[in-house]
Subunit: 216 residues, 2 copies
Amino acid sequence: MGEASYLWSMVFSSTLLENAVNEFSKLPGIGKKTALRLVLHLVKQNSSDVLQFSDTISRMHNEIKFCTRCHNISDKELCNICSNLQRKQDMLCVVENIRDVIAIESTQQYNGIYHVLGGIISPLDGIGPEQLKIDALLQRVEKEEVKEIIFALNPNIQGDTTIYYISRKMKAFPVRITTIARGIAFGGELEYADEMTLAKSISNRIPVENYIVSGQ
Amino acid sequence: MGEASYLWSMVFSSTLLENAVNEFSKLPGIGKKTALRLVLHLVKQNSSDVLQFSDTISRMHNEIKFCTRCHNISDKELCNICSNLQRKQDMLCVVENIRDVIAIESTQQYNGIYHVLGGIISPLDGIGPEQLKIDALLQRVEKEEVKEIIFALNPNIQGDTTIYYISRKMKAFPVRITTIARGIAFGGELEYADEMTLAKSISNRIPVENYIVSGQ
């Protein structure tokens, strides 16, 4: 947002205002100037709206849970997705985090359930398999008689490492293991695609009759 | 922030999460995706930090006041700037809003006091002199025996109209009326300056000896 707050420090005539700006600027991607804009917006709102804002945030933090089965964020012990028996209970989509669940749910195209790893294997960041919900995934695959695991991880080295590690551990189980397709994004242009993506999109080419049936 | 939230709606597995995201996305310039990022950041913080965040906001809104003299935001009846007797009490800087006070204070170059108009005259937006703290300014000039009024309004038609309107009303008082200099910004380039700014910077040229004394 082009903030020059590192060049000068803001001088406030009100400690209450300054404290509120400081709280907002602790949030990721929010600098002092943006924080001030947000706080001055709240100053102009009526009391009930501001009370609702602060109450909703603190209530969310106090009451929110993580689903004991898939580790998605949830209001109850079991999240809405896991407890929905309309969804295929033997198809697990393995994702890195909660944002990915929301992204996939928003497509309204997936009818299975999830497993949130809470990260991906990244030795350089000190994240190994034991920091992630991988053991819990293996237990689920065994106990819940899962038929298919779909990896929906970001296409990079850490993602591929995580897929490789988990799929080796799964060898003992009769489960189909797939990954979301990598290729040229819809609306993307061939000439700007990197070589890796383009190469994979050719080697993993699909018959046109499948494409027309599944593609919308 | 390149948000495509108008194209798709987010599907949440948690109402608590959804409510918190909705509250954040009511703030100006915060879309759904940014709101989600902020809320998920708060989810990861410990309870005392989140409590401090929500308490600081609601306390700020409940307790904040506007200075009865200059209409700046304040913790008390009279703001820190007005009640600081080290500052020149007979020099008023007239600004549009609180953000402008903070910007000028942050330069640490101004040693007078302020008067916050709460907007500028803009007939197209339905804002006339009676919606602004102009009468209060005239009363201050009379009662407080003000020696100089410095207009620090944004350089545009509304700003100039406001200056013209107020300075006409001031004719009866023995007060010096000035406006902040308009010209080429420090670090700016002549060839990219608009004609108006460049023309004003030439007609309002200053002797080099003054420039060297006052410029840093």
